[in-house]
Symmetry: C2
Subunit: 482 residues, 2 copies
């Protein structure tokens, strides 16, 4: 029995949200088998000892062994242990399937996988530990018992009727008038932006966006061949003079805005600017796409209603993701359709993926009806408000003079402006060398931006890491200016 | 206590896969409340008696009452029953949310909801009863216990790595060489076609399709402004002479084909035509999109491998839905990406909806690894093969001379050709009046087709209904020819 574990020293497991530990272990062992480092008949270490050696839970080893057995790589003998099997069929074929590493496209996650010691101030995904698995299980089982096979049947493209009803009620309670007919269920906010772009924009059409803005929206508009005009943001919302000037020249089809807790700046529009924006949209007869990115995570005493609440002539398409601050991997969002666009939007949705998962819709319907979602939001708001306050304190304490930011009204990040002569790209690169992942601001601008913005997130890290992160960030700044 | 149920005679519940009975009951009662037919304080009937009156399960009434209580429409007093509450807040607002009926876009389902007595020979969705809910529950719980919050985290756009590995292995076992890197997970086959169209086709590009073909593909290609050229199908596959002639003239970017159990004809390509098609695609340097629509439901003794198995120079994009004959509402499929298209396809997928539900991917990964999917397929193949044989017998027995069809190699329907002078539109309309839903063939042609094709499905009906359906169909034919 390999009590010294020398055959396994090459195994390196890292916490990675995209690739569970048991899968990594599975892959590592398969690799050892394929490289003939573990021969058929080799006795694998007992679960507990192996787990202790790898510093992981025993259940992770159990799961990896189970998968290895399912795939035919190992076999078990009762009371004696798990052995490497003869190579399974697949390996004997001419071109065996190669096991490759997960190569996630997000640079921060790739780095994270390479080096656990980095402090991740780039990710704005929620901490996975924050979701109650037990509650989800319970609701899922209830839905399956209730609807049986119908839970898996085709769902109508517009969405599961009871969920649309729940959402309409949720909106009405929040001051937004919406009918069940106007609600279109979609597979996440990105799909919503894409569908609106496809239904509304043709090659050469103009679309206005805030600068900075969400890069996924820029990509969706570009994919339609639309021309993107960016309007600068100010502390209290979009620059209205600039907007009006550009409206006179370009006559866009669509204005894409995030009036509450804007991404990436975190600012919220003043009441005055909301009204001016609505008035201009009406005067120039242009549709507004309001992306309600994360308004539930407002840290203001009195959060503001969506722009949609001010919509008197059905020109605001209100887009809201439920999954983002809940279960981003589930892909669930909705948009409200102006009557004049409803059939077009529904057609594009049908074209895109027929419908959103009916099972997910049925589960989330109960989350809304029973206020499980609402309670979840209240709970995480409390957690993140504490993180947020602490982040602001650390920023103040550690960051050198010259770096400024507008205190955001909510969300999971700060948007920092560096002094004029300092390059954000350089600081970001230096900070990474020193152990902190930051997001360079230039990706949030549709065209070349001044190289002096950085987004700092506190979504997935501890208070200690926030403090340490800002210290390293400050040092990196110093190195880049001296 | 309303033991005579006169207040509820207006309630009509119909089995409808898009709107569960308990929701219908909920909606019916809400309507009665809103129309003031049930006043606040009114005592609702006891569950069992109400269920008996409505001829539904008691649990359906329980669920409806539960939802009514959650929504604030009723309240319960222990030991005394459920009472209508004062109207909930939402109703008091200026513009109450209106409860509308579900209006599914599929004509057959709309009709079904209106009249249960219709025999549905139009739907090709599987019978919902065929899926094992218990197995799904068990696997879902296992995944949640194993991955915890990570099951809900963002999934990389290409798909959950272990699932891509399972799929690569599944393909290799089936004779198709595929690497894990080449597998892209998508949210159903329609999304796959749409993504390929967006990655490959620009305005004015030519794309070739079979005639008849899947209408969702035509819509996706049209949405790109592509020009669609249709090539007639013959008993053994696409008309090769016609294909070659058109290839010389038009130089398309893409040929969209279903070489196994084509939709809607059910034919499968001969080996010779497969080779000719591959050769022509190579010579004219054009990509092939192979839509493996339902090849698992082959009733041939030796089902044919996908066209992709013949692909020597990486020009076949192989597209396969797992959800279609499994759980269509779950939206899960994959495609294999030629190396030269991989980054483009991945970008369009990311643009479309970031990623497919990670939870669904994790569950389905175990279905493949443990051969649960494979066993499911074997089981339903047996069920449907019997339906299929019986359908062919009934067609022979009841249909008048002059109607012909090619015996399909698998699937869930027959594709009938009427005699020249008979209008398929008229026969379909007459059959509907007489109680049978058929699908008129013209929707499957990209341009005006001869009005003489009808698709007859046996997916959701009993043997008795198949027999009765063909009798009515035959009578309708007679009425339309006399």
């Amino acid at each position: 029995m390999p009590d010294d574990f020398t055959d396994f020293v090459s195994i390196q497991l890292v916490k990675d949200r995209k690739n569970p530990l048991y899968v990594q272990l599975y892959q590592a062992i398969v690799l050892l088998i394929k490289n003939r480092q573990l021969a058929p008949g080799y006795l694998l270490p007992p679960v507990r000892k192996f787990a202790a050696f790898l510093k992981i839970n025993a259940s992770t080893v159990v799961n990896a062994y189970k998968e290895l057995e399912n795939a035919g790589y190992i076999f078990s003998r009762a009371g004696s242990g798990s052995y490497i099997a003869d190579l399974p069929t697949i390996v004997d074929k001419e071109e065996p399937v190669e096991l490759i590493d997960s190569t996630p496209e997000d640079p921060e996650i790739r780095s994270l996988a390479n080096d656990q010691s980095l402090i991740n101030m780039a990710s704005i995904s929620l901490n996975p530990d924050i979701v109650s698995i037990e509650k989800f299980k319970q609701v899922m089982i209830e839905v399956l018992d209730r609807d049986q096979g119908y839970a898996f049947s085709y769902q109508e493209s517009q969405g599961f009727l009871p969920l649309r009803e729940s959402i309409a009620r949720y909106l009405n309670n929040g001051g937004v008038k919406a009918s069940i007919e106007s609600v279109q269920i979609i597979s996440g906010a990105q799909q919503g932006i894409d569908i609106v772009a496809r239904a509304l924009l043709n090659h050469g059409d103009y679309v206005f966006v805030e600068a900075p803005t969400y890069p996924g929206a820029i990509a969706a508009f570009r994919s339609r061949g639309a021309k993107i005009i960016d309007i600068p943001l100010e502390e209290d919302g979009i620059n209205i003079e600039e907007l009006e000037k550009k409206l006179r020249s370009f006559r866009p089809k669509l204005i894409y805005v995030m009036p509450n807790i804007q991404n990436p700046t975190g600012i919220s529009y003043s009441i005055e600017k909301r009204n001016r924006l609505m008035g201009l949209a009406r005067y120039y007869n242009v549709f507004l796409l309001e992306d309600d990115y994360i308004s539930e995570l407002s840290y203001l005493d009195s959060p503001r209603a969506p722009l949609k609440a001010l919509d008197r002539d059905d020109r605001v398409i209100y887009l809201k993701s439920f999954s983002k601050i809940f279960m981003p991997g589930l892909r669930l969002a909705f948009l409200t359709m102006p009557k004049s666009l409803a059939s077009k939007l529904l057609n594009v949705k049908h074209l895109s993926d027929i419908s959103t998962s009916g099972l997910t819709q049925r589960v989330f319907d109960l989350y809304l009806r029973r206020s499980i979602w609402q309670k979840h939001i209240a709970a995480i708001r409390q957690v993140y408000q504490a993180q947020f306050e602490f982040t602001c304190q650390c920023a103040k304490k550690h960051l050198p003079a010259g770096i400024s930011y507008i205190k955001p009204s909510g969300g999971l990040s700060l948007w920092l402006e560096l002094p004029n002569q300092v390059s954000a790209a350089k600081v970001t690169a230096q900070a990474k060398l020193d152990g902190v992942l930051l997001t360079e601001g230039s990706t949030f601008f549709p065209r070349q931006s001044a190289d002096r913005y950085i987004r700092v997130s506190f979504a997935t890290i501890s208070l200690q890491e926030i403090d340490a992160g800002f210290q390293i960030f400050a040092q990196a700044m110093k190195k880049c200016t001296s």
